[in-house]
């Protein structure tokens, strides 16, 4: 199974079991864009045998719906709860990617999750040598993207 299929499987498992939300992978090739507007990005770094970053990019409206479903409450603005929830989604996804790539769990280290949000920001390749995989997912509230930049 290719890494793209693993990302799709992991993302759908996390959303169905923890967020209580079904998401489907988009067949469309995502635009090759690094600028995100009115969005929030949760990210986690990988270091060791593989180096890179796993990111989940969500427009604010999608992030609010996802956080609301995750926490079982209404969320009306991008706040600490949303940042924590989107960061934790990146953390779980990063953990699954680590399990796929790692041989024994100690050859790859994960960073703590962090988030970026704002009216407009640029999320660039960590390195020219990094291989980039971007997959779009559709939820009822809209589309979001999962991005893996990986360098062996």
């Amino acid at each position: 199974m290719q890494i793209r299929d693993k990302i799709i499987e992991s993302t759908q498992e996390i959303f169905s079991t923890m967020v209580m939300m079904d998401v489907t992978a988009s067949e469309e090739l995502p635009e090759n864009k690094s600028i995100h507007c009115e969005s929030i990005t949760g990210l986690i770094g990988l270091a060791g045998t593989y180096k890179g970053v796993l990111a989940i990019h969500m427009p604010n409206a999608v992030a609010l719906a996802v956080t609301g479903s995750f926490l079982g409450m209404d969320v009306e603005e991008i706040n600490a709860d949303v940042e924590d929830a989107i960061g934790e989604l990146a953390n779980m996804l990063g953990g699954n990617i680590k399990t796929i790539l790692s041989e024994n769990g100690k050859d790859i280290n994960l960073s703590l999750p962090s988030t970026i949000s704002g009216k407009e920001y640029n999320f660039q390749l960590a390195s020219d040598a990094a291989e980039r995989t971007v997959i779009g997912f559709d939820a009822e509230s809209g589309r979001f993207h999962v991005e893996l930049q990986l360098e062996k």
């Binding site: 498992e13 956080t67 995750f70 709860d81 924590d84 953390n91 779980m92 953990g95 769990g105």
Partner: protein
């Protein structure tokens, strides 16, 4: 007298989700205490009676492995069982946690059924 649980995770979202999963699994506690890292947990354990601990591994300030090591050196709390709930699944890391006293592990993401399956026999 009922039982008390301590949830250790740097994510407030995850602490809420674990608490919700416990309720959905039909596991009732008198008190659910929360800590954001190992240091907060050790401070809380000085004042509260806790019957079981559910802990993340990757956390700032004091991670789950360091917490287990520190807890093992404190006679008053060293026998409280700890169940790891983490994205970490590597045999080396889980093995290290178990060698330091962890009684089991649950991988994130998890379902209430999985929580019940692993935690139920420990109560």
């Amino acid at each position: 007298m009922g039982k008390n649980v301590l949830l250790i995770d740097d994510s407030s979202t995850m602490r809420k989700i674990i608490g919700r999963s416990l309720r959905q699994a039909g596991i009732e506690f008198d008190n659910i205490f929360e800590a954001g890292d190992g240091i907060e947990a050790l401070a809380l354990l000085e004042n509260e009676k806790v019957d079981i601990i559910l802990s993340d591994i990757n956390m700032p300030n004091m991670d789950g492995i360091s917490f287990l090591r520190e807890k093992a050196n404190r006679p008053a709390i060293k026998n409280i069982p700890v169940l790891m709930i983490s994205t970490e699944t590597g045999e080396d890391i889980i093995g290290e946690a178990k060698s330091l006293g962890a009684v089991g592990s649950i991988k994130k993401p998890f379902t209430p059924d999985k929580v019940n399956e692993v935690l139920g026999p420990l109560l």
